[in-house]
């Protein structure tokens, strides 16, 4: 079958509507409550209907890639924290594994397990924020505070293990920064026991709310081929029914030792790939992450977790494209080394950047309120979009 080169053409607006009014240009953002940061979307609207939406990014550009070329391999890690500041652990992890694979380095078992635990805890924290802010976008305020209540417990765990609550700088090349303190493992298990029943609470107040379903089902449908073509990844792509999770499909760390399911959207409330599906994938993924955390914490081996290599490393010349599954999707680091103390090039393939790029394709014809719902369901973090 010959595939179309512009799969989004199916969304293009048809012949002018007889009820059409004058087109109005509307600047949504960069100061707008629902753009999740400093994103500007230039809208062309016909009344409440959006004719075209053009994202303008770059307001948060912090020259990460330029910086990375002028600092040592280890110094890059705090910078990766600041890409997707809601899921910093996952960012550290991708970079660290990338460099380790270039150096052909083995990491202690315990460190690998700790990495998986913190990465999955961070995934839950990130999905919680996605849920809460999505509720805000739709107009429900209460779920937002519910999720922050539970995210707080995760942040407390992080504070205990690495001292920071937002930008952790915890996963280092060759290991982790600190071993888990006494009793931390039990606290993690305790948290998982506490957390799993709480998901039902979110479902009661938001997921299965009639108005919420009306607002999100059949809105902002991303068909699988459009999603893949636009490089959409993570929960946003799985919402379109594509079974693609790097933890399964391109395993890294010790993910292959755990049992968990890949959640895909099934179009329960409407069409496959609508905003409700994307939202639901995140909710269901929190169960899966909790499952992984439970297994990892129970199997956590004894031993040393600190990194085994000196701070000033030299990476053999070469290049590697390392991709990991962060809460937003496929986070890729394309690392080039010339054998020196500093990277020659670190390119970040940011999932939020690619996920956002699908917005102009699916926006035509939706209402302003739907556009807010779509942006929210893509779960972008502008720190990562702009880098």
């Amino acid at each position: 079958m010959k595939k179309s080169n512009f799969p989004e053409s199916q969304f293009e607006l048809q012949i002018p509507d007889p009820l059409r009014t004058d087109e109005m240009t509307l600047s949504m953002g960069p100061q707008h409550p629902s753009t999740h940061g400093v994103l500007q979307v230039i809208l062309k609207t016909d009344g409440e209907i959006v004719n075209s939406a053009r994202p303008q990014i770059g307001y948060l550009h912090r020259c990460f890639e330029k910086h990375a070329e002028n600092i040592t391999w280890h110094q890059v890690i705090p910078f990766t924290d600041r890409l997707d500041y809601i899921a910093s652990m996952n960012n550290n992890l991708g970079y660290a594994i990338g460099v380790e694979r270039m150096m052909n380095l083995e990491v202690n078992e315990r460190a690998e397990y700790l990495r998986v635990i913190v990465a999955e805890l961070n995934r839950i924290a990130s999905h919680l924020i996605a849920l809460g802010t999505y509720g805000l976008d739709i107009g429900a305020f209460t779920p937002f505070l519910y999720v922050f209540r539970d995210r707080e417990k995760i942040l407390d765990l992080f504070e205990e293990i690495c001292g920071a609550r937002l930008l952790y700088n915890y996963v280092w090349v060759g290991g982790v920064a600190y071993d888990a303190p006494e009793g931390w493992r039990e606290k993690v298990l305790e948290f998982v026991d506490y957390f799993e029943p709480k998901i039902k609470e979110y479902n009661d107040i938001l997921t299965y709310n009639k108005i919420f379903i009306e607002r999100t089902a059949n809105v902002g449908v991303i068909p699988a081929d459009v999603g893949i073509s636009y490089g959409v990844s993570g929960p946003s792509l799985r919402g379109s029914g594509v079974n693609f999770d790097l933890r399964k499909d391109d395993p890294y760390s010790v993910y292959d030792r755990f049992e968990f399911d890949v959640i895909t959207g099934k179009g329960e409330m409407g069409t496959i790939g609508d905003t409700w599906d994307r939202y639901w994938v995140r909710v269901a993924e929190m169960y899966e992450s909790a499952k992984i955390i439970r297994q990892a914490a129970e199997q956590l081996p004894e031993g040393d977790a600190k990194e085994t290599i000196p701070r000033n490393i030299k990476v053999p010349a070469g290049e590697y494209y390392m991709r990991t599954e962060t809460p937003r999707g496929e986070l890729g680091y394309y690392i080039i080394s010339d054998g020196g103390k500093m990277p020659n090039r670190v390119k970040v393939r940011s999932p939020a950047f690619c996920n956002l790029s699908v917005l102009p394709a699916i926006a035509p014809g939706v209402m302003i309120a739907d556009l807010v719902a779509i942006i929210g369901s893509l779960d972008i973090v502008l720190g990562e979009v702009d880098r």
Binding site: E65, G231, Y321, R323, F353
Partner: protein, 168 residues
């Protein structure tokens, strides 16, 4: 499909496109010429056995004498990967776009244009994406010198190399 088979398939269809094939590195790559690049990519995506429907990443690189663009391809159906590389000279930095094949390349190519100054021929919307439209220079090139002023605003940081007060 292994990298060798992918290479052979392309070689069979486009005999004079491939410059170099390296199977001994961590991630095997194929270096192509800029001409016919769009056709090669179209072939890679549409050929049943290859079916590279996802462009994972597309990044610009400054190799010193040359600039390059590196494409990381992945097939969702066959679960295989390949790396494509295209090099261009600094003076004549032009590569055919692949934004019509993988839509995600649209923004990635804009980013490369923004930071490396590589022009993508036939790109639907070749503008800067991260930096302001009136920014001068291409910051990720190795020979980039940071300007002192932007629209009359002093942007140089005293710690930056070549911008310290003593040298002024």
């Amino acid at each position: 499909m292994t990298a060798q088979e992918i290479h052979d398939t392309i070689q069979g269809k486009f005999p004079d496109v491939i410059i170099e094939f390296n199977d001994s590195v961590l991630q095997p790559y194929i270096k192509c010429t800029p001409n016919q690049f769009n056709e090669v990519c179209q072939f890679l995506r549409d050929e049943e056995e290859l079916n590279f429907d996802a462009l994972m990443n597309c990044s610009g690189v400054d190799y010193g004498e040359e600039l390059g663009v590196v494409y990381h391809l992945y097939s969702m159906t066959h679960r295989h990967k390949i790396v494509l590389k295209v090099n261009v000279t600094r003076e004549n930095a032009e590569i055919p776009t692949v934004a019509d094949i993988w839509r995600t390349a649209d923004w990635h190519e804009r980013e490369i244009f923004d930071l490396y100054g590589i022009n993508f021929i036939n790109h639907p919307d070749m503008r800067r994406i991260l930096l302001p439209d009136d920014w001068e220079g291409y910051p990720l090139r190795k020979d980039y010198v940071q300007p002192q002023f932007y629209n009359g605003i002093e942007i140089a940081h005293p710690d930056m190399k070549g911008n310290s007060d003593e040298e002024k």
